[in-house]
């Protein structure tokens, strides 16, 4: 169980400037929004600098946090009273503890690299300034999400990142497909968000507060098991939408319509991991329920395998990465479902590095081949784009789980926990998912970079400018090294997070080394298989793929989930809307209104004949009426 944290009393230095960490990107967003067009190229420099400064400040704050004794690593900062109604108070409060510290370092660290990269990638775009305004705004909301000390601030960030995601997916809205992808992302995640809002309302009803301290501190005495399950599942529904888990995963592959830095920042490294953060943050509620944790585990597991198979069938390099992200997020939820919160956070950090790296690498490939995204039209890029190739290879190997790269440690720890807690089904299925991950990553690398160019664009490919490959190199260095933060469960990150996330339960199963050997052997086997089919030249991979029809087409279409939604939800909804518009509204409601209008008109048609226009006849009627009334009154008396 988590020990009681005592808020630190000394909040001087960087810890006192906690509010400045999100405020800097907000200021950048405001300046770029209003003056971005006039600023021109410096807009990008400004946008990058604000996030970089935010990162520096975050690093200082975390350093100060680490200097505090372990049981005091909690800083609360009250900015102002947000809502104050009767006994219900919500403050705009920030909270820095081990969990949010980890998140802000990832958000600002990876975020600033992606901002720098975007200076090159977005160069020459007519809405260059606005792009950085949106990106900065996103970083602000993301920081509010992870720094919030209550669910309302978290929800503010939660909706804010959703808005920025929408704006950035549809950044090139002239293209109808992009605009529709943006709408799809917004509406799909909104389903989860709405359920989450219901969950928050329930929390208010039960606790009379949204404050993390109050909710988690009193959860045990206030909530019954069933109520905890309802609240936890409602919160998890929000996480499912935001983190693109089954059944709300359909928006993420389409979200690739946005510029590639957006995909890297929002749809790989940060926003989509908000769901994992939410569940880890609320793990007290999930543990009270128990059932909710099982749901999380199952959803994560199913998503991990499902999305991995989809990734295997994609030809668009960014869609491979999108499905890969969904699958990796599934891994994180698996870890959460097994109460291994530290492992989930470790996975999150590591994934942020290698997936951002691969996305930016894919962006670099697109940049070099004039926006080619179809891997079938690539090939041979290792000679023309050597730096992109090497860095991408590092990211791919990290995801595949090749030691000593970061992904290996994260995946290994996860599988080890599954094994050591005697969840053998989870362990075996996790291995399957890991094998598939290595397989599609191998396919992607071999199709893109090996053999000979398969199109004129691929032949004329050129390396990207330094402003783009330097962030790639830094991220690659990160993907190599961050794994050492947490070698096995006793690592430094685990110790750091223990104050918030607790320790992983579990005794012993197979020896850790044996488990690692199995995982690595499978990853290598998958890569060798991918090489044999796509890289060796001994197999005609196109004919090879066609031999499996209709499976490849099914996978490319993501198991036709979109089609199923179209048939089950969208078409019926359109039918109902048509009915409402053309029958209920046009026939019934308009009919009623028209009938009333027509009736009055017919009545007036008859009534107007009384109006002769002769003043004297009116006077006569008046007179007769008056006499009549008088006569009536007289007879009554």
């Amino acid at each position: 169980m988590v020990g009681e944290l005592v808020p630190a009393t000394t909040t001087s230095g960087a810890l006192g400037l906690l509010w400045l960490i999100p405020a800097l990107p907000l200021a950048g967003a405001a300046i770029n929004l209003f003056f971005g067009k006039r600023l021109g190229k410096p807009a990008g420099v400004l946008g990058s600098l604000t996030v970089l400064a935010s990162f520096a400040l975050a690093a200082l704050a975390v350093r100060d946090l680490l200097a505090l004794p372990a049981e005091q690593r909690l800083v609360l900062q009250h900015l102002f009273d947000w809502i104050s109604v009767g006994r219900f108070h919500v403050g705009a409060d920030l909270r820095l503890d081990a969990l949010s510290a980890t998140m802000i370092l990832v958000v600002t660290g990876v975020g600033s690299l992606i901002h720098i990269y975007a200076n090159g990638y977005m160069a020459g775009d007519p809405r260059f300034g606005r792009f950085f305004a949106y990106m900065n705004l996103f970083v602000f909301f993301m920081l509010m999400l992870v720094l919030g000390a209550n669910y309302l601030v978290l929800y503010l960030g939660w909706e804010g990142v959703g808005l920025c995601s929408y704006l950035l997916i549809g950044f090139w809205f002239e293209n109808k497909e992009n605009a529709e992808a943006a709408k799809k992302a917004f509406i799909t995640t909104r389903i989860g968000d709405t359920l989450m809002l219901v969950g928050l309302a329930l929390i208010v009803a039960k606790f009379g507060s949204l404050d993390f301290e109050v909710v988690f501190g009193h959860a045990g005495s206030v909530l019954t098991k069933d109520t905890a399950t309802v609240i936890a599942l409602l919160l998890f529904a929000g996480a499912i939408g935001k983190s693109a888990q089954i059944p709300l995963h359909v928006w993420l592959p389409d979200a690739m319509a946005g510029p590639t830095p957006v995909s890297a920042l929002i749809h790989a490294a940060t926003m989509v991991t908000a769901g994992v953060y939410l569940v880890v943050r609320s793990h007290v509620l999930f543990e009270l329920s128990g059932v909710a944790l099982t749901v999380v585990l199952v959803v994560g597991l199913v998503t991990a395998i499902f999305a991995a198979t989809c990734a295997l069938g994609q030809n668009d390099i960014k869609r491979v990465l999108a499905y890969s992200t969904i699958s990796q997020l599934g891994f994180m939820f698996m870890a959460v479902g097994m109460r291994a919160y530290t492992a989930a956070m470790f996975f999150l950090v590591v994934h942020a590095f290698y997936k951002a790296l691969m996305f930016l690498g894919a962006g670099s490939v697109m940049h070099g081949t004039h926006d080619e995204t179809d891997m079938r039209e690539m090939g041979g890029l290792r000679r023309t784009m050597p730096i992109t190739f090497v860095t991408f290879l590092v990211g791919a190997a990290a995801q595949a789980g090749i030691p000593p790269l970061a992904g290996f440690f994260a995946k290994d720890e996860l599988l080890e926990i599954a094994n050591h807690t005697h969840r053998n089904g989870v362990y075996v299925l996790g291995l399957v998912a890991a094998f598939l991950s290595a397989l599609y990553v191998g396919r992607m690398v071999f199709l893109t970079f090996f053999r000979e160019p398969r199109s004129a664009r691929a032949e004329r490919a050129h390396e990207s400018p330094p402003v783009m490959w330097i962030p790639l190199a830094i991220l690659a260095a990160g993907a190599v090294t961050v794994g050492w933060l947490n070698v096995k469960a006793e690592g430094r990150l685990a110790a750091f997070l223990e104050s918030v996330a607790g320790r992983v339960p579990g005794d012993a199963g197979l020896a850790p080394l044996t488990l690692s050997a199995i995982a690595v052997a499978l990853a290598v086997a998958a890569l060798v298989l991918a090489w044999w089919v796509y890289g060796s030249g001994k197999v005609d991979w196109q004919a090879f793929t066609e031999g499996f029809e209709p499976l490849p087409t099914t996978l490319r279409n993501g198991w036709y989930v979109d089609h199923a939604y179209d048939v089950v939800v969208i078409q019926p909804a359109k039918e109902v809307a048509w009915l409402a518009a053309h029958v209920v509204d046009a026939k019934w409601i308009d009919g009623l209104v028209n009938a009333i209008g027509g009736g009055v008109k017919r009545l007036a048609q008859g009534g107007r004949l009384i109006q002769t226009g002769f003043v004297r006849s009116y006077a006569l009627i008046l007179f007769v009426g008056a006499v009549g009334i008088l006569a009536y009154v007289g007879f009554r008396l």
Binding site: T612, G613, F614, R616, A619, L620, F623
Partner: protein, 101 residues
């Protein structure tokens, strides 16, 4: 010796009947208007007469009100009649019937 109330009421009734006949039979807007004034003053007379009978000033006060309102009404009414005359060169009410239907 007080004049009996019946005389006042009789006079008032005659005046009111004259006014009513005027309103109903005349075609000239100005004459109709004057007949309306006659009716008004017939009513004022009954008000004052009853006020005197009951030794209650309320009726007299009400008569003043009625006169003030009548004055205002005359302003508006005459204005309209003048406007109608300027436009049509006649104040025959049977002619001004465009607004029906």
């Amino acid at each position: 010796m007080r004049t009996p109330i019946a005389y006042y009421l009789l006079l008032s009734g005659i005046l009111f009947a004259l006014g009513t006949i005027g309103v109903l039979t005349r075609k000239n807007a100005l004459l109709i208007f004057m007949s309306v004034e006659l009716q008004l003053n017939a009513v004022n007379l009954t008000l004052v007469a009853f006020a005197r009978l009951h030794n209650d000033l309320t009726g007299q006060v009400l008569a003043f009100f009625s006169m003030v309102v009548a004055a205002a009404e005359v302003v508006v009414g005459l204005g309209i009649i003048v406007a109608i005359y300027r436009r049509r060169r006649t104040v025959d009410v049977d002619d001004a019937r465009e607004l029906r239907w």
